[in-house]
Subunit: 205 residues, 2 copies
């Protein structure tokens, strides 16, 4: 039995999505076929419904401003909010990280979303462009940022990328910081790895 071309094509498109491998993509095609036309139409409507969501020209967060004749109107609600501290910038990988930080209500500054960091520890073209846009913002304003918080995951490649970003942005901020490392709330000392526990001891207060 040959797999129909339309299923192969479907699997090809869906396996471009991160987290979906070629085998899962084939299984997905069969799932869609078994669900029938009603489900497929629901998926199409869902994909169509997000097409008027745009990216903020400043921080690359999502926004839904319907009319944006001037670039300065193409801002997300955080960048457009005059109450947010424009001198403190948190650099995050993805929108879901921004949402998690927003949920704490502990951060009143603005953001820059970089996009998923590569495990190679090398910034891609889009990430370089986004960092450049932050630099030109500083140059235009003619003052340095108070603080840039590099809020990327404390993983090996997160650390690697954070060092590169810190080096790039050092001339543009009075202070460059990263999120605190240590034992997570609810965690147990006994099960903390050596690295985490060392950080927790150094950062005690």
């Amino acid at each position: 039995m040959k797999i129909p071309d339309s299923i192969k094509k479907f699997a090809e498109v869906f396996s471009e999505i991160p987290g979906i491998g070629p085998r899962q993509a084939i299984r997905l095609a069969f799932y869609f076929i078994n669900q029938g036309i009603g489900f497929n139409e629901k998926v199409i409507r869902a994909v169509l419904s997000i097409k008027d969501i745009k990216l903020c020209s400043q921080c690359f967060n999502i926004h839904q401003n319907k009319t944006n004749p001037r670039p300065e109107d193409n801002l997300c609600e955080i960048c457009a909010d005059p109450k947010r501290d424009k001198n403190t910038i948190a650099i995050v990988e993805k929108e879901t990280d921004l949402l998690s930080i927003e949920n704490t209500s502990k951060f009143k500054g603005k953001y820059l979303i970089l996009g998923d960091l590569k495990k190679s520890g090398v910034l891609d073209i889009q990430q370089k462009l986004r960092i450049s846009s932050l630099k030109s913002f500083v140059k235009k304003q003619n003052y340095l940022f108070e603080e840039i918080i590099i809020a990327v995951n404390p993983t090996t490649y997160g650390d690697l990328n954070a060092d590169i970003i810190a080096k790039e942005l050092k001339p543009f901020a009075k202070k460059i910081s990263r999120l605190g490392k240590g034992i997570p709330t609810g965690g147990e000392i006994e099960f903390a790895d050596k690295e985490t526990l060392s950080e927790a001891i150094e950062r005690r207060k």
Copy 2:
């Protein structure tokens, strides 16, 4: 920052897909937005392209017969193939299991696709209907199947379901079997679990 309703709706639809949780569904929405309209259109085209794939009225495998005025024409290429042995039926969970078995070229019979088995070990309505359709097939033909192979995974709930299916179908076949269990080719005796090794000893030849 509030998540736009369209993203919430998108995540709701996509988290219905098995293997995609609510968090991954939100990340998917952001991924789609970042990919832009070109990617979204590609996804929509892929979903639309599989809409003329139908399910075989006999074994519930997929097929692409364009015209099917009579139910007997609504058959997949395996069920429509007069060279396949109609007296031997393999009962599989999903299309991908069927494809794997077809790839061996060792099975010349026909199939019945049941759909994903529940971990509870209880057959759902659709599965009961599909088994009933197999029974009525036997009643109509007025002879028993030579063999029904219950080709479900040898997991705990696979075994549980296999027992139920075997009991249901016993009056309709001369022989009910399951796939052989043992050490997989390339596997090592040292690392085989006790259950597998016991089966391998019992089924030696």
